[in-house]
Every structure is written in C-alpha cells, then in structure tokens.
C-alpha cells in the first residue's frame, strides 16, 4: 500500500514538474520585490526568462510564413494577401542580413508600413466616436441606459458644452469621476488582484496546470 502511495506521489510530482519548476522560479523572481539588495540568482533568472521571449515569436513567425506558402500552393482564398506577406517577410529578412537592424531602408520600411496600419486603425477609432457608437451602443438594459447617460454627462463635463448649458453639469461630472469612478476603479483592481492570488493558490495546489 505504501509503495503504491509512493509511486502515485512520484508520478504526481513528475507529471507536474513544469508547474512545480515554474512555481519555484516565480518565488525566486518575486524575491526581487521583497529583498534589498536584489538577490543575484533572482535577477539572473528574471533576465534569462525575459530574454527567452523572442524565441517563440520566431517559431510562430515561421509557422505564419509556412501557412501562407501553403495557401499559395493550394490556391486558397486571400492569395494576394499571402503574396504580399511573403514578399514583405522575405524582403525584410534579406535587408536585415545585408546591413543589420540599423539599415536605413529596413527601418524606413518597417516604420512606414506600421504607420499605414496605425493610421487605418486610428482613423477607424476617430470615426467611431461619432458613427459606430451611435449604432453599436444599445440600451438593452436599464444598467446600459444608465451608463449611456453617464457617458453623455462625461462628454458634457470635459467639453465646453456642459458649462455652456448649465454650470453645475461639469461639477457633477467631476464629482462622479473623482468619487464614484475612483472607488469603482479601486474595487475593480482589488478584485482582480484577489483573483490573481487565488490563481497562484490553485497553481500551488497543482490544480492549474496549463495542460489541456
């Protein structure tokens, strides 16, 4: 019986080894917040894990390239997108190998291509202030209707309209922002952090394994 228990405990530890190692690493790294001066092994472990983060990006980027090559070979939908993506990726990689990250063409292309996307999204957001909000925001419940009312009050508080209509409007808006919104913001973060601590407790009990 004892042997069986011992075996099951061993298999439990081995089966949860990634979680256990992760928890030990977490405790070591957390010590940086509670210990002065920083413990060198903790700093080293934090830096090592942080520096390892780009590697999965490389793996997933390669998978992304493979996906678009596959799409081109089978003639799937969105072929033009695949061509642009692959041409862009190969071009950028070649430029990188020619002159490194400091290459003027590479950085120029990177920044300008990013700007195109940023501009598109920013424009969409700018338009959303007027157009989609009117269509998307739906007062389906009394709570939503109340929140839309508060949004209008906030809009009037932080634009000259409120002051022009009736001077107490911005005063009321400021009061709600300072006290009601401030208190609810604190409550939101308190509950989130309690949830985070509970998550760690479940991990120490080996109940959150990140394994499907």
């Amino acid at each position: 019986m004892q042997q069986e228990t011992g075996q099951s405990r061993t298999s439990e530890i081995l089966g949860n080894l990634p979680t256990i190692l992760g928890l030990i690493g977490m405790v070591i790294i957390t010590s940086l917040y509670f210990m002065e001066p920083p413990w060198p092994p903790a700093s080293m472990l934090r830096n090592a894990t942080t520096l390892s983060l780009p590697w999965p990006v490389i793996v997933v980027s390669l998978l992304l390239i493979r996906k678009n090559i596959k799409n081109l070979t089978i003639g799937g939908s969105g072929m033009l997108y695949s061509v642009i993506l692959l041409a862009g990726a190969i071009g950028m990689i070649l430029l990188y190998f020619v002159n490194g990250i400091g290459d003027a063409t590479l950085s120029g292309l990177y920044n300008n291509i990013t700007i195109v996307g940023e501009m598109a999204v920013t424009s969409a957001i700018a338009i959303s202030v007027f157009s989609p909000i009117i269509r998307v925001y739906r007062a389906k419940t009394w709570t939503m209707a109340f929140l839309i009312g508060l949004s209008i009050l906030a809009f009037m508080t932080y634009t000259p309209i409120g002051q022009m209509l009736w001077p107490p409007i911005p005063v009321l808006g400021d009061w709600i922002q300072s006290y009601i919104s401030g208190a609810s913001d604190s409550a939101f973060w308190c509950s989130t952090y309690i949830g985070a601590v509970a998550l760690i407790v479940r991990m120490t009990l080996l109940k959150e394994k990140l394994r499907p």
Partner: protein, 256 residues
C-alpha cells in the same frame, strides 16, 4: 552582503490571503458556485454559429502579454489558463456541432498553446479532423489584430464572437462595430476596466476581470479550485467591511 526584507506590509497581506485561500481549499469543498455568464454565453455562441452556418471568432487579444513589466500589465498573464480552458470548452462543443473556430492573439507563446487546447477540444468533441492549425492567427501587434479580425468578420460573416482578453478600449469598439453590422452575437470579458467600459455598452454578455480569471476553476470538475474561488469572497467581505468602517470612522472624525 547583508540582505534586508522590504515592502513587508505587502508581503504580510499576500501571505495572509494565501493562507486563507489555502484553508478554504479544504474547508469549502463541495461549495456550489453561481453561474459565470461569459462561459454559458460562449457555449451559446457556438450554437448560434451552428444555426447560422458561420465560423466563430475567438479573440484573446493581449492575453499573456507582459506589458510594461507593471502589475496592471502582468494581469494579462492571469487570463492565460482561463481563456485556454474556455477555448477548449468552445472547441469541444464546436466539434460536436461542426462549427469552425478562428482565433487571434498577439502573444506568440499563447498562439502555440492555443494549438494544444484547440486540438484537445476538437478531439473531445469527437471530431479531431476539424482542427486546422491555420485557424490560429498570431499578430505582431494590436493594429494587425484589429485589421485581420475585421477582415475575418466581413469575409466569413462571423455569426458570433467571444472576445475574452485584452483589447485597447478605443480599438475594441472598431471590432465591436464590425460584429454589430454583421448582426453577430458578442460575448466580451475584457481585462481592464477601461476596456470593459466599451464592452459593457456593446456586448450581449459581459464579465469582469475577476470572473474571467475564475473561468478555468469554474469549468474544472475538481471541487478544490471551486473552493478556492469561493474563498475569495471572504477577502472581499473583509475589504468591504474595512472600507466601510474606515469611512464611518473618518466621517465621525476619529480618523484624520
């Protein structure tokens, strides 16, 4: 070299919460939890897509990304187990009902993990052949995520979307708008309160950060995670009492 403990007050609170929740894990076993709307609504979203004959969009946004190295940014990491378990639950039902699931994330590790969970979900659902790795999309930034989401919504006439994770409060409204114009059902559970301010006005079902972190425990058949979940209420009750008492004492002039 002499080491010194600092931030002792935070350490005491952390250890206190930890011990209390650990005790609750044993004492509160068998407790019955209330329903988390996001989970039930997400499974309903699968059924909606089955009826409409369209794919489902599961977008976890910035989940798993460590922003700024700051605590508010790190909260995205707390969403990882929950969103992945939700993805598995969704793909399990999607497998049974023949619904395609398209996902998008801005975190490379999360994208790799999504593959395992989707594969497991479709297998449990009895249709492992439905798993398509090309339906897991990785985007290098938020801009790419938004543009591609909108492209998917338009191209496939997405019937329902589950957006549980982090989306910038100003940009998520662009995705919500695309979904609304397609008449899609929207289930949202954003990380940060300012994101949720948009979601609360647009989504058909909404849950807040703490509920989203709890999804994995809620879906688990194990009674221990559920007991820990219930234990959180003691800390919240203590905090509410503490704030109320402080307010009364302050108003009475005892505290200054």
């Amino acid at each position: 070299m002499g080491y010194q403990l600092v931030n002792m007050d935070i350490l005491v609170v952390l250890v206190g919460c930890f011990i209390l929740l650990w005790i609750c894990a044993y004492v509160l076993r068998g407790v019955k939890l209330r329903t988390i709307p996001t989970v039930e609504a997400s499974l309903e979203a699968v059924r909606v897509c089955a009826e409409k004959g369209t794919p489902l969009l599961f977008d976890s946004g910035w989940t798993g990304a460590n922003f700024w190295g700051h605590s508010t940014g790190l909260t995205t990491l707390c969403f990882v187990p929950s969103t992945l378990e939700l993805l598995k639950a969704i793909t399990t039902d999607a497998g049974r009902l023949g619904v395609r699931v398209i996902t998008g994330t801005t975190e490379s590790v999360y994208a790799l993990m999504s593959k395992d969970y989707m594969q497991a979900g479709f297998t449990i659902g009895g249709h492992p052949e439905m798993f398509n790795p090309d339906d897991i999309n990785f985007y290098p930034d938020n801009t790419a995520l938004i543009l591609n989401d909108i492209e998917y919504i338009r191209r496939y006439h997405i019937g329902a979307a589950v957006m549980v994770g982090g989306h910038n409060q100003t940009s998520n409204v662009v995705i919500y708008e695309a979904l609304a114009t397609e008449g899609a059902m929207l289930v949202a559970g954003e990380i940060w309160d300012n994101d949720n301010s948009m979601a609360v006005l647009c989504a058909d079902y909404l849950s807040f950060a703490e509920e989203n972190i709890a999804i994995a425990a809620y879906l688990s058949p194990d009674p221990v995670p559920k007991a820990v979940l219930a234990g959180e209420d003691f800390i919240k009750a203590f905090l509410i009492g503490y704030v109320l008492l402080g307010g009364v004492l302050y108003a009475a002039g005892v505290l200054k």
